[in-house]
Amino acid sequence: MIAAMRFQLAGYARSTRALHPVLALALLLAIMFSGPLGGTPAQVRSGALTTLGDLAALTFPICAWAARGLLDTEPDAQRHIGVVTLGGWRAMACGPITAAAFTACLALVASAYPLAEAVRSGIQASVLLPAVALMLLSALAATALGALTSRAIIPSPGWSVLVLLGVYVVDLLLGLGPLRVLTVPMIEWMGAAGRGASTFTSGLPWFALRTLAWAALAMVLYARLRRTRP
């Protein structure tokens, strides 16, 4: 399984597909960090937390795109060879796990600057660690969406991108209304991060639970669909 993951990652890294989300992330970070996070240490602490909350939501489609790209790098016939070589379940799990590792790296790269600024301004680890956890959970849910829109599930590239972006937009819109419990709570965690450390920290278990549940349901759906779509 490790060798298969290394194979997939090597194929992705050697293709130009990996550059697309990396460039998109670089552009996002350049825009977000074009100015300082704040003047005083208190402003930097608050700014860093708000930025991490925003980043966890804004990197979501980039991570989903990266996961989709990684899974789609493998040609269909190679995926079939993988199913025979590894066995159905391991072959099905291998791609999303590799993609989750890659998107986790993207999330950590994205959060490096605000984390460094937050540490310099003296923010407590008890606030920092939940923010990092949120970034990783967001990357996990995004990976599940990327897997659900990969070519094995949606063969048409046009429909696949439409579904990926559509789910993201619908998630944000639903997050504003009474059906927010069904969403990856991006709107809510952005709001909580903006209101301060205590609100954010107290809300995190609920955000984490919902994000994990969303990712788990998406992966169950992916696994079910992959049974008949090798």
């Binding site: 194979f7 493998e74 016939a77 190679q78 060879i81 025979v84 590894l86 066995g87 008949t228």
Partner: protein, 234 residues
């Protein structure tokens, strides 16, 4: 390995591609799968290899190590042949030296450092065969393995398959061109009418006109009938 009343279709409500297929894949034998285009040969091979699960019925007893070479090798991958096969050997838990051994046997050694997208169709096909052979599989499934191969490899491949079968592998090969005809002990499966039958299809008949003097006609018809042919005088 057993197929018990297996049926398969690609989508719900689509017509069945294969239906009510009951088969036994014997160990240590070569099986040639024949049938016209679109009859379902590749689908049958995918079911045997485990690429797709049956829609109905049951497949049991598939060997744990299976090698599968698809009809078209996926050459659009950003690796040299050596790097790709090295990765595949690692995935299969085979020693890296196997890559060189099989490449040598299939006349592929000089092309190991060529990028996969730069390989010709036949050479890419060889890469597909090598990856399938890396882990001493108990079941080998080759979809049109002779297509695009050079004459030397084409001649050598049947003996190589026979060797693998003699070591206990079940070798299943779809073949349009009859490259296994000369090999003794090959079982044949016909895919037709959404099912699979063992044995050759009845041979097609041809009409041969022979013009002879009328006085010899009766005698010739009698002799031809004695030889088992259907003959009549007009």
């Amino acid at each position: 390995m057993q197929f018990n009343q297996v049926a398969f279709r690609y989508r719900r409500r689509a017509p069945w591609v294969l239906h009510d297929v009951t088969l036994t894949v014997p160990r240590g034998r070569i099986i040639e799968v024949n049938g016209r285009n679109g009859a379902g040969k590749s689908t049958l091979l995918r079911l045997i290899a485990g690429v797709v699960p049956p829609g109905r019925g049951r497949v049991a007893g598939r060997p744990s190590s299976t090698g599968y070479a698809p009809e078209r090798f996926p050459a659009e991958q950003p690796f040299t042949a050596r790097a790709y096969l090295g990765h595949m050997a690692a995935v299969r838990g085979a020693p890296p030296s196997r890559v060189g051994e099989w490449a040598e046997r299939l006349g592929f050694t000089e092309l190991l450092d060529t990028r996969l997208p730069d390989l010709s169709k036949g050479s890419a096909h060889k890469a597909g065969l090598v990856q399938a052979l890396l882990a001493a599989p108990g079941l080998l499934v080759f979809d049109e393995p002779f297509a695009g191969l050079d004459a030397r490899t084409r001649t050598a491949l049947p003996a190589l398959l026979a060797e693998l079968a003699s070591e206990g592998s079940s070798v299943i090969v779809s073949d349009h061109q009859g490259d296994l005809r000369e090999l003794p002990g090959v079982m044949r499966w016909q895919v037709a009418g959404r099912t699979v039958t063992e044995g050759d299809l009845p041979e097609e008949h041809a009409v041969v006109e022979v013009v002879v003097p009328r006085s010899e006609a009766e005698d010739l018809v009698t002799r031809l009938k004695a030889d088992g042919y259907e003959a009549r005088c007009r």
